[in-house]
């Protein structure tokens, strides 16, 4: 008897989409001075969701001026304890409107509602809660007796966790006393705009948070703006490098959270079923659109074959489809561009001789989809072992000794995340020491928490987000 799940779609009714969205500047929604706009679509259906204003240089001017005025005015003068209460308020409203945010995020991004509901939105609220408490305790953060805010922070965030990344950026910046101009990604502007509404609802003083929607040129204008004291960017290493060059010599502060090619290392004595879950969670969570994804599986030789066998069985149970369905595990690829990039890299994997496998799964006719994919017989030199694919594609390599695992794991300019699976405690600590990665998950993967610093080594960027260490990015200490 076949045990199938009937469709269980989350209702869209909780979300009211406007036909068009303005910029959020100085506490109000205002049309873009640029007069330009762009359309944002649901990647699962290709249906246009709304028209969104595209901020030009004059809009950046206006937003930065509003942020500056707020910094020199009410926000800069406010006691930390009062700032804290605004952040607590925002956190609470996020919780109260959690379902609305989750559905909106899934519509605009294509990620499964299970994830937006259980991960993105609760974590976003948690980030505001955590940082709220710091606002009046900054002198205890270990960064000196009198840390000062930097001023106006320009923050550019990616499309993979639109709301969560907005929270990661705004919460510490505001707690530290800065004001913000946030630029959400072009393909996922809606949840940041709803967050702007929440800021209004929380009576946040005008200009403390400004949201400028737009594409790369909007971000470039923000980076280039001389009124911005600090740039925080999450996105590709390529763009991060450009930003670092643009900021060079200006004395402005910069933090970058960039790409990764995380190794998930499974030893023969691993807790095998949990390791399989960790591999799945490591690369198929959020369709692999995760900078810290465990995109390289390093399996110890004695266990490689049985592990793969189990992994294939497990992939058979993954449900790909309507992101709003509560039982969907794999949602849509966020955009046509990203889908093309994933396809090109996957094709290169085949051409270079790696073995490609996906579970039988029917892709919806419309929208942007890519099946969960495993490549075996991958060598270090293959593009799929070196380049960040940012999609549901796992490259499998093998190793014999712990030293070989370390050498392979570290053989990349990236250094964001790594996973270790073994039941041997001393080996975990040894491996954790050797791995050049900002986050090491041992016997787990892709866990996040506002109290836990996150960020990379080398070309995965610099600066941390979360925890006491994340505050340093927004303080002059």
């Amino acid at each position: 008897m076949s045990f199938t799940y009937a469709p269980a779609p989350e209702s869209r009714e909780i979300v009211t989409l406007q036909p068009s969205y303005d910029l959020f500047v100085n506490g109000d929604f205002v049309p873009a001075l640029s007069g330009r706009s762009f359309s944002t679509t649901n990647p699962a259906t290709e249906e246009p969701l709304a028209d969104v204003a595209s901020a030009g240089p004059e809009d950046v001017d206006r937003a930065v001026a509003a942020a500056r005025a707020a910094f020199e005015g009410p926000w800069g003068k406010m006691r930390g304890s009062e700032r804290a209460k605004f952040l607590f308020r925002i956190a609470r409203v996020l919780q109260e409107r959690a379902r609305e945010f989750a559905v909106l995020e899934t519509l605009d991004n294509g990620k499964p509602i299970r994830e937006s509901r259980d991960v993105d939105v609760p974590l976003a609220a948690a980030h505001f809660f955590y940082h709220a408490g710091w606002a009046d305790k900054l002198e205890h953060a270990g960064l000196g007796p009198a840390p000062r805010p930097l001023g106006v922070a320009g923050q550019i965030i990616p499309w993979n966790f639109p709301l969560l990344m907005a929270a990661w950026k705004l919460a510490p910046a505001l707690a530290a006393g800065n004001t913000c101009v946030l630029k959400p990604a072009e393909t996922t502007p809606l949840s940041a705009l709803l967050l702007a509404r929440v800021c209004q609802e929380a009576d946040l003083p005008p200009g403390v948070v400004n949201v400028l929607t737009g594409a790369g040129d909007t971000g470039a204008a923000l980076v280039a703006h001389r009124g911005v004291d600090k740039i925080a960017f999450t996105g590709s290493t390529e763009v991060g490098r450009e930003i670092a060059r643009a900021v060079a010599g200006t004395g402005r502060r910069l933090t970058l959270e960039l790409g990764g090619k995380g190794a998930n290392i499974v030893f023969e004595d691993a807790p095998i079923d949990q390791a399989v879950e960790g591999i799945v969670n490591g690369i198929f969570f959020n369709q692999g659109h995760v900078c810290c994804a465990g995109s390289r599986l390093l399996a110890q030789e004695p266990i490689a074959e049985p592990l793969l066998e189990r992994l294939r069985q497990r992939l058979d149970t993954l449900r790909l489809g309507d992101p709003l369905d509560k039982n969907t595990d794999i949602g849509a690829i966020n955009s046509k561009d990203q889908l093309d990039k994933i396809r090109a890299l996957a094709d290169s994997g085949e051409k270079e001789g790696a073995g490609r496998w996906s579970p039988p799964c029917r892709l919806p006719a419309r929208g942007y989809w890519f099946p969960p994919t495993i490549f075996t017989n991958v060598s270090q030199s293959h593009r799929i072992a070196k380049e960040e694919i940012f999609g549901p594609v796992l490259s499998v390599l093998t190793f014999r000794t712990p030293a070989e695992a370390v050498a392979k794991a570290n053989n990349t300019p990236y250094g964001l995340s790594a996973g270790i699976w073994t039941e041997k405690g001393s080996r975990i600590l040894w491996m954790a020491q050797q791995l050049e990665a900002g986050v090491v998950w041992a016997n787990t993967f892709n866990r996040f928490d506002p109290a836990s610093p996150f960020g990379g080594y080398q070309e995965s960027g610099f600066g941390r987000e979360g925890g006491r260490h994340g505050l340093e990015a927004y303080l002059d200490a």
């Binding site: 670092a244 970058l256 941390r464």
Partner: protein, 296 residues
């Protein structure tokens, strides 16, 4: 001309002095520049002091290679051990305080008394940083109370190879103040000594060579900062860069070059006489966070 305290008399014996040759310090050895070049180093008062090696791009490359080779073992030595090594350096300086004072006096044109104070401060600075070796991680690390059944801790780790453009003016105290925080946290350093005042740096290298500093952990280049800095700023095996010693108008280009592999870049001018903050210690470490489930 040899180093000498200002006003020191030429010996009457008529004995011909043995001049010192100032060379580079790379991988624990003292090579001449592979380019065969040298340049004249003069005292603050304009007296010719010595020839120093004029390091080339290739020397810089060799120094980075030596640093990269030495760094993993240095990083994996215990913090206690690194502290002792840096403390040993302080001891050696103390033993050769007179020589350093002479060298500083010649380089900086300071009085004998001021020079002795500078040397004393340099020794104390080394002692201060030596003491940080096994405390720093406690102060900047943390265990993080995440909302779930996980033990989560954060520790600092060295960035790797750090290129340091030493302060141009403060030839010993400035040098020690930028070098010690780099190595005490487990990095290997490639130092470009003050262009005009390189001799105390070379003497420090000689002390390092005969102390317990492993070969390659400290490398000292003398020469044109403007020539060497771009090479180091662009080098993909260099993880971080202290450009405080670069001319302000040279910094933007260096930062742009450093963006090639996203080096961590520090620009921090300090009053060397004041007690340092932790900024230099924090500048060249990576923060690593480790998660593990808590279960039975």
């Amino acid at each position: 001309m040899p180093e000498r305290l200002p006003g020191a008399e030429r010996p009457r014996s008529g004995r011909l002095e043995v001049h010192k040759t100032y060379k580079l310090f790379i991988g624990g050895a003292f090579p001449r520049s592979e380019s065969g070049r040298s340049y004249v180093v003069s005292s603050a008062g304009g007296r010719r002091l010595a020839n120093a090696a004029l390091a080339s791009r290739k020397d810089a490359r060799d120094a980075v290679a030596a640093a990269r080779a030495a760094q993993p073992a240095w990083a994996s030595s215990t913090a206690y051990n690194r502290g002792q090594v840096v403390y040993r350096l302080a001891e050696m300086l103390e033993g050769r305080a007179a020589q350093f004072a002479a060298s500083v006096a010649a380089a900086e044109g300071a009085t004998a008394r001021a020079s002795r104070r500078i040397v004393a401060a340099s020794i104390d600075r080394l002692v201060w940083y030596a003491g940080w070796a096994d405390k720093f991680a406690q102060v900047v690390g943390s265990s993080n109370p995440v909302a779930g059944p996980y033990f989560n801790f954060t520790i600092p780790e060295p960035t790797g190879v750090v290129a340091v453009l030493a302060p141009q003016v403060s030839s010993l105290l400035g040098l020690v103040s930028v070098l010690a925080p780099v190595v005490v946290t487990g990095n290997a350093a490639v130092v470009v000594a003050s262009e005009a005042r390189p001799l105390p740096a070379v003497t420090l290298a000689e002390v390092a060579a005969t102390s317990d500093v492993p070969a390659g952990v400290v490398n000292v280049l003398t020469g044109r900062t403007g020539e060497l800095a771009p090479v180091l700023a662009g080098h993909m095996d260099v993880g971080a860069l202290d450009i405080s010693g670069a001319a302000p108008d040279a910094r933007p280009d260096l930062e742009r070059l450093a963006a090639g592999n996203l080096k961590r870049v520090l620009v921090l001018e300090e009053d060397w006489a004041a007690v340092p903050s932790l900024r230099r210690l924090r500048a060249f470490v990576e923060v690593k966070t480790v998660w593990h489930p808590v279960g039975i």
